[in-house]
């Protein structure tokens, strides 16, 4: 009798609501990551899965691999370049946009959305042509300025720069986020500052920036985490670049698993994937603890 009451509709109803979402979350995220770990413990054989159990040998092997070390160096370079070239532009764009106080703001912010709406592949097609050594305008401009002829995407030293550079035009959702945060700053603070004799430029550095610091930090963490996983752009631009110069960790995982040449070494690629996962998890946890400490 009591058992029936325990499972009454009131008790079970919440679970009925949440079950689909919960099951799908577990099935599409938690189950695969556990399975990835499981696969990484094998010399995975796609003909006869799962293959030979080799404990942590995959991990020991990849640490010794030159391509693994290179991929991490490349990925960190991608991160550095992304932050230097593309992170600060949207902030500056938003600050200046907030200083324009008439109807043209709407037009400008509409145009600023365009980079977010340009499909990834379109951007790559466009920039691959710009960076084309023979016919692209990059060399045309470079020669006109007296810098000479470069092979850009095929140049071991320049390829990472060429892949990240398109982000310099800024725009996108980030600008609108920053703009919203700037416009949400308490009017009273701004008025008080003006009464105290604060000029426009001073206002930006002493009032606006500190007040949107929280958003800048969030965006920085998101940018970092996304840069560590970068895969689509290096794949489409150069498929890993001249001699692996633009192979990120993500791209290395892809190549190890699916590239016809590498014979589907799922065990090894899963190991690399687990290492990346732990790295990102640690970065996230560091951020969360720092965030908790500061608030």
């Amino acid at each position: 009798m009591d058992k029936l009451k325990y499972f009454s509709s009131k008790r079970t109803m919440p679970w009925l609501f949440v079950l689909p979402g919960l099951i799908f979350t577990l099935f599409f995220r938690y189950y695969p990551i556990i399975r990835a770990f499981w696969i990484s413990l094998f010399d995975y054989d796609i003909a006869n899965p799962p293959g030979i159990f080799i404990w942590f040998k995959n991990y020991f092997n990849i640490i010794k691999l030159q391509e693994f070390k290179n991929a991490w160096i490349n990925t960190l370079w991608f991160l550095v370049l992304t932050v230097i070239i593309t992170f600060f532009i949207p902030i500056i764009q938003a600050i200046f946009l907030s200083e324009i106080k008439n109807n043209s703001t709407k037009l400008f912010s509409t145009i600023y959305i365009i980079p977010a709406l340009v499909p990834l592949s379109v951007n790559v097609i466009l920039w691959k042509w710009i960076w084309n050594p023979g016919y692209g305008i990059a060399n045309f401009i470079s020669k006109a300025l007296g810098f000479g002829h470069y092979t850009w995407l095929s140049d071991v030293d320049l390829t990472k720069f060429c892949i990240i550079f398109p982000g310099i035009i800024g725009g996108g959702a980030a600008v609108l986020l920053y703009l919203a945060a700037i416009l949400a700053i308490d009017k009273e603070i701004l008025e008080a500052a003006q009464i105290d004799g604060c000029t426009g430029w001073q206002k930006i550095f002493y009032i606006v920036l500190p007040n949107i610091k929280f958003l800048i930090v969030i965006q920085f963490v998101i940018t970092t985490i996304l840069s560590l996983q970068i895969l689509d752009q290096p794949l489409q631009f150069t498929y890993g670049g001249p001699a692996g110069a633009s192979t990120s960790v993500g791209l290395l995982i892809y190549k190890t698993s699916f590239d016809a040449f590498s014979q589907a070494r799922f065990g090894r690629s899963s190991a690399i994937g687990m290492v990346l996962f732990f790295f990102i998890a640690i970065v996230t946890l560091i951020y969360l603890t720092l965030d908790r400490k500061s608030s």
């Binding site: 919440p14 696969i39 500056i92 764009q93 200046f96 324009i100 509409t110 035009i169 799922f266 899963s270």
Partner: protein, 458 residues
């Protein structure tokens, strides 16, 4: 002292405003410049695209009219006369592409005359002919007469191009004044005669500029997938692509995004509703933690197991379901946004309904959702923007089925084919910008509001 300070303020504030305007205007121009460049490149033909000194505004396309006299065959029966004219027009048109590649001729018209009466007319756009030549019916062949006419291929191509024929005369005219009065007339005539390309008697050509011809490029860019996949030797499944061309990819993307938006709104709100309103705080937080924790798992790390699951266990490799099913995962951040919104709804509304004996479904569907319109539009736009650039998974899962490709996948795959010239690729890329621009103009207000709302709440 105050007056002086004020002057400094005004000056400094002015310098700020001026800098703001200058920087913003330059920024906006820099954003628009690549789009202009893309459009300008797609208005060119494959020769102009390779010029060493790039021109921003391409030259106006030229229209070439070729007039050929068939009077010597006037005694023949209609069928055979028509066949002769068709053969000559095909050879002449493709010869223009081959010989006069550098002249910027975008359109070729062919007039067949008998006894000073125009009886045959056919017209082809350069891109149409180039498509057939590079990867269509005449893939990898030289446009010489015997090649063009082999195996009745000329019949297929004239069917695609179209012609008008009436022995009594047709209502098409060329500018007789200007006949033979252009720079290429002589050389082209010599080429036709020396190579014995045509059987009729070459009378001459007229040349005219027409800027609209450049814009017509786009029509044939859209057809590119159609022609390419129709003529492919490999047995890839491409039926929809060969029938409809490029719009297939737009359609696929539209279906995927619509499904994603609807299912994400449904599942995320369902989960968030239970966390926010149905569970105790402790259990609710545990579930929320599970949902948010999943955000930490990078897709790259689970791509291999997910691929194996989809291919071996679910059998969704190379099927449309393979692209759609992953969207069943309720994205943690959206669950969090929904929960935040639901928390702010007044408790009394729900309690009142519960006391009245309404089932929980009623609370959710009839009351909660209609009140959530603001957050739903925020989430919808976020889902759209987030998945518009989705490339890796659809590419992995639809390797052998071009008719399942979404926009990004299709563009990438097409750009890898070497026989497709740069202006074609840029043209297709430019075409995809049209829905982008339309969406931007229509929804810009909505997008701006949604992004700011999600940012501040997050």
């Amino acid at each position: 002292m105050k007056k002086r300070l004020n002057k400094i303020h005004v000056k400094s504030d002015m310098s700020l405003t001026v800098s703001a305007y200058i920087f913003t205007i330059i920024s906006v121009i820099i954003i628009l410049l690549p789009l202009v460049y893309m459009t300008s490149t797609s208005l060119k033909d494959s020769f102009q695209v390779m010029e060493l000194k790039p021109k921003i505004i391409p030259e106006s396309g030229k229209s070439l009219s070729i007039v050929v006299d068939f009077s010597e065959f006037r005694k023949e029966d209609r069928g055979s006369l028509l066949d002769r004219m068709i053969k000559d027009s095909v050879v002449a048109m493709y010869s223009v592409i081959y010989q006069l590649n550098r002249e910027g001729i975008f359109e070729v018209k062919f007039y067949g005359e008998v006894d000073d009466k125009i009886v045959y007319y056919s017209r082809a756009h350069k891109m149409q002919l180039e498509s057939e030549l590079y990867y269509g019916i005449y893939k990898k062949m030289y446009p010489l007469r015997k090649v063009l006419l082999s195996e009745d291929r000329y019949k297929k191509t004239i069917e695609n191009i179209g012609y008008i024929f009436d022995i009594k005369g047709i209502d098409k005219n060329y500018d007789t004044e200007k006949l033979t009065k252009n720079s290429i007339d002589k050389t082209f005539g010599e080429y036709l005669n020396i190579k014995k390309c045509i059987e009729g008697k070459y009378l001459g050509t007229t040349l005219k500029s027409n800027i609209f011809l450049n814009f017509e490029n786009f029509k044939y860019y859209m057809d590119l997938p159609k022609i390419y996949y129709e003529n492919l030797e490999e047995n890839l499944s491409y039926s929809r692509v060969s029938r409809f061309g490029f719009p297939v990819f737009l359609f696929n993307t539209a279906v995927v995004l619509s499904f994603a938006v609807i299912i994400q709104i449904f599942l995320c709100s369902l989960t968030a509703y239970s966390i926010s309103r149905l569970f105790s705080k402790k259990i609710g937080n545990v579930i929320l933690f599970i949902c948010l924790g999943s955000l930490m798992i990078p897709f790259v790390s689970i791509m291999v197991p997910q691929f194996i699951i989809f291919k071996e266990q679910l059998g969704l490799y190379n099927k449309f379901g393979g692209i759609l099913v992953p969207y069943l995962y309720p994205y943690g951040f959206y669950v969090y946004l929904f929960k935040g919104f639901f928390d702010r709804l007044p408790q009394e509304l729900f309690d009142a309904a519960r006391i009245d004996g309404a089932p929980e479904w009623h609370n959710y569907i009839r009351m909660c959702l209609p009140l959530s319109k603001p957050i739903i539009s925020v989430i919808a736009i976020n889902v759209f923007l987030g998945n518009w650039n989705e490339f890796l998974w659809p590419w992995l899962i639809t390797d052998r089925r071009p008719d399942l490709w979404t926009l990004n996948v299709a563009l990438y795959q097409l750009s890898k084919i070497d026989t497709i010239k740069q202006n074609f690729i840029m043209g297709i890329a430019a075409i995809t910008m049209i829905p982008v621009i339309i969406i931007t103009i229509l929804l810009s207000g909505q997008i701006r509001r949604s992004i700011s709302m999600s940012g501040i709440k997050g």
